[in-house]
């Protein structure tokens, strides 16, 4: 159990490093431009993974205030099924007993929304550039394009 | 010592800069254009002369513009040394202007407007150096001079000019950035944020002997316009310029700015006494001595007259550096006077070389057989100038040589005396043969066909004037002497 604890407590961080390094490697070493862009997206999502991992709290729920759910007995009934898996998700507290520990940290989520948007925007622009390169050089492989440029010069 | 606050130094500096605009605007009317030059020249000379009495009385004129770096202002200050230099430069500008009109028009040179415009800028820079009150201001004008003379040097815009100009700038700009700038900054830091020239130096006590030596060497090399070997080769290279340029700039303005800066550094930054106490100037003394001899020997081997004169200049400049580095009062006086004396002599020689070229198209010494009697004024003036440079009485050069010898004796350094003596002999050996050939060797066959006659009047008049100037300087050296003495006096 200690081992599990140890793995769980670090696993996210390891995986994000692995993903990030894969993305980085693809961005630098792949020859195909679209592959590079896929690598770029993986790279960015890895960072998003890191950020979201920061904001996780054990036993917390999603960062949306449950004041409506608070008056809803369904969730108290639903508790038995989830209890074992989840330790103590406790919602039925209502607004009066709002505790910061019950909700995941919203700030990383906000930041990552922005980061995702930036990611998709960059991907879009990157893809447009790739298309333009294909128009200009008829290829999307970096070495081929470089060779074309050299032959244009020579 | 009386300190006068006056904007005159600034005006004197700016007047030729201000005239650049009118010169460019009137580019279509050469006569008007040239008259602007003269106007500026006379105004400039007038302003400089008007300051003379105060200086002679031992006063100083100061004018501060604004602070450009912490504790450092763009400031002007006129003292004996600067006055002397300014006097020489502004007088000779007028003469040279006259000469260059004759030269340029006769040679039908292109881009005359540009020529005169940059000439004026260069003069401004020269006066700026002469009047600058601190190292930074001096550096500023020094660089301005390097840059503004570049178009003049490369005036012909041919391959030769390009190569010459390249060497010219590489040396001047390179050394100033690589050596002078760091030396300046180091000085600035060591002195605690001051770079004001003070007689007796402001570095005294704040640097060690080793540092002082290194700094001094950096300064001497950094102001490569002084032509101390091994940074001398820009000067022969710059001889591709039209002769008026060579005459004024490479006999008077540019090179003298170099030695002037060295003098300033030695007297104003380090202080003679301080250097003497450290013994830091010895290296400079030897460098200068070597330059004197080596340049003289090299001059002997040159066939191109202008190049020969250029090497001669290098050698003569090192006299001045040497004189300053000897750190004795007489030597200093001698070297300051030599600025004026050499200027007058050398400009005459260059004028002559130009005149010969204008009249006959000859550049080489070996071609000049027998031209003496065809262009008597020119060659006679050449003779006078040469004698002045050699240092024979009754010509101005004799005074400065005399003081230099005196100084070398004062330092009890027999080798220096020997160096001076040998170099004087060498002077004779490379300068006089031209005159001898011109007057005594009959013209060779190839040259007879060319119709030889005197150079244009506008060329002849200036060279005659300067030749007589050499004579006059011998007869009336008092003003110069007293100006030079002002510096030599211990503070």
């Amino acid at each position: 159990m200690i081992l599990v604890d140890f793995i769980v407590s670090r696993f996210n961080y390891w995986i994000y490093i692995i993903l990030m390094m894969m993305g980085l490697f693809a961005m630098i070493a792949k020859k195909n431009l679209i592959k590079k862009l896929i690598g770029m997206s993986i790279f960015q999502t890895a960072i998003i993974l890191f950020f979201v991992s920061i904001g996780v709290k054990e036993g917390s729920t999603i960062p949306i205030l449950a004041h409506e759910a608070a008056h809803d007995p369904a969730h108290q009934q639903a508790a038995p099924l989830t209890e074992k898996g989840e330790g103590h998700i406790q919602n039925g507290k209502g607004r009066d007993a709002l505790r910061a520990e019950d909700y995941a940290n919203p700030l990383p989520h906000v930041l990552m929304l922005t980061a995702i948007v930036v990611g998709v925007a960059t991907l879009g622009v990157g893809l447009a550039v790739v298309q333009k390169l294909h128009q200009e050089f008829g290829s999307i492989e970096e070495p081929e394009i470089l060779a074309k440029i050299d032959s244009d010069d020579g | 010592m009386e300190t006068v606050v006056s904007s005159k130094p600034l005006l004197a500096t700016l007047v030729s800069l201000l005239v650049v605009g009118p010169i460019i605007l009137s580019r279509r009317r050469p006569n008007l254009r040239e008259s602007w030059t003269f106007l500026a020249g006379f105004i400039k000379l007038g302003i400089v002369l008007s300051m003379l009495p105060i200086i002679l009385e031992g006063g100083v004129i100061e004018w501060t513009l604004w602070e450009i770096l912490p504790g450092l202002a763009l400031a002007f200050r006129v003292d004996g040394l600067g006055m002397l230099f300014a006097l020489v430069a502004s007088t000779l500008w007028i003469v040279t202007s006259l000469y260059s009109i004759g030269y340029m028009r006769r040679m039908k040179e292109h881009s005359q407007t540009r020529f005169f415009a940059f000439f004026a800028v260069a003069l401004s820079a020269t006066l700026g150096v002469a009047f600058s009150a601190n190292l930074l201001t001096m550096y500023l004008f020094y660089e301005m001079l390097s840059l503004s003379t570049y178009p003049l040097v490369t005036h012909h815009q041919d391959r030769e000019a390009r190569a010459g100009g390249r060497t010219y700038l590489t040396y001047l700009l390179g050394t100033s950035v690589a050596f002078a700038l760091p030396a300046m900054i180091y000085t600035y830091m060591k002195s605690g944020g001051s770079m004001e020239f003070v007689s007796g130096g402001f570095l005294a006590g704040s640097v060690s002997g080793g540092e002082a030596t290194v700094l001094l060497i950096l300064f001497v090399f950094g102001f490569a316009k002084a032509g101390v070997m091994p940074f001398h080769s820009w000067l022969p290279a710059a001889m591709v310029a039209p002769t008026p340029v060579s005459a004024l700039l490479h006999a008077v303005a540019v090179v003298k700015v170099g030695v002037f800066c060295v003098l300033r550094v030695i007297t104003g930054v380090f202080g003679v006494d301080f250097l003497a106490s450290l013994g830091a100037a010895t290296v400079i003394v030897w460098l200068a001595s070597i330059t004197v001899l080596a340049a003289s020997l090299l001059a002997l081997t040159q066939d191109n007259l202008k190049r020969r004169l250029a090497f001669s200049t290098i050698s003569q400049l090192s006299y001045i550096v040497l004189g300053a580095a000897m750190l004795s009062e007489s030597a200093l006086t001698g070297s300051i006077m030599h600025i004026a004396m050499h200027a007058m002599g050398k400009i005459t020689l260059f004028f002559c070389a130009g005149a010969i070229f204008v009249a006959t198209g000859k550049k080489y010494v070996s071609e000049m057989d027998g031209i003496g009697w065809r262009m008597p004024f020119t060659m006679f003036a050449y003779l006078l100038g040469a004698l002045s440079i050699i240092g024979l009485p009754p010509f101005g050069g004799a005074w400065s040589k005399w003081f230099l010898f005196l100084g070398s004796v004062e330092t009890h350094n027999i080798y220096l005396t020997l160096v001076l003596a040998i170099s004087s002999l060498l002077n004779i050996a490379y300068l006089l043969p031209v005159a001898v050939r011109a007057f005594y060797v009959p013209p060779g066959k190839g040259n007879t066909k060319i119709d030889l006659h005197e150079a244009p009047t506008a060329c002849v008049i200036p060279l005659t004037l300067t030749a007589f100037g050499c004579l006059a300087l011998f007869l009336f050296p008092e003003i110069l002497l007293s100006l030079a003495r002002l510096m030599g006096e211990p503070s």
Partner: protein, 115 residues
Amino acid sequence: MNMILNIACLGLLTIGIIIFFGAAIGVLRFPDFYSRMHAAGLCDTMSTICLLMGLALYQMHDLSLPNLLVVGKIFFIVAFISLTGPTSTHALIHAGYQRRNRPPIRDSKAKEGSE
């Protein structure tokens, strides 16, 4: 009542998972693209529907309005999936066919001859 719901829910979930298991095995085992398509496209849809139904039933433990709405939304999902599932299956198989990716057909010659 809750008991029945729970059992129904569990049953539906089990069925869904079994169907999905079949689909997964089918996708792995079937020899060619077309037959895999049969397993993937359809069993998948079915299993999803089953699972969703099961979850919807669980949600009906308590018949409050918000929960009913959630159930409504789950039904929406079911509807969508049963619309999009066949459509995308069709689109894919159509595309595969148009690319002259001929289905391997046993005894095709004999049959063709007969036509």
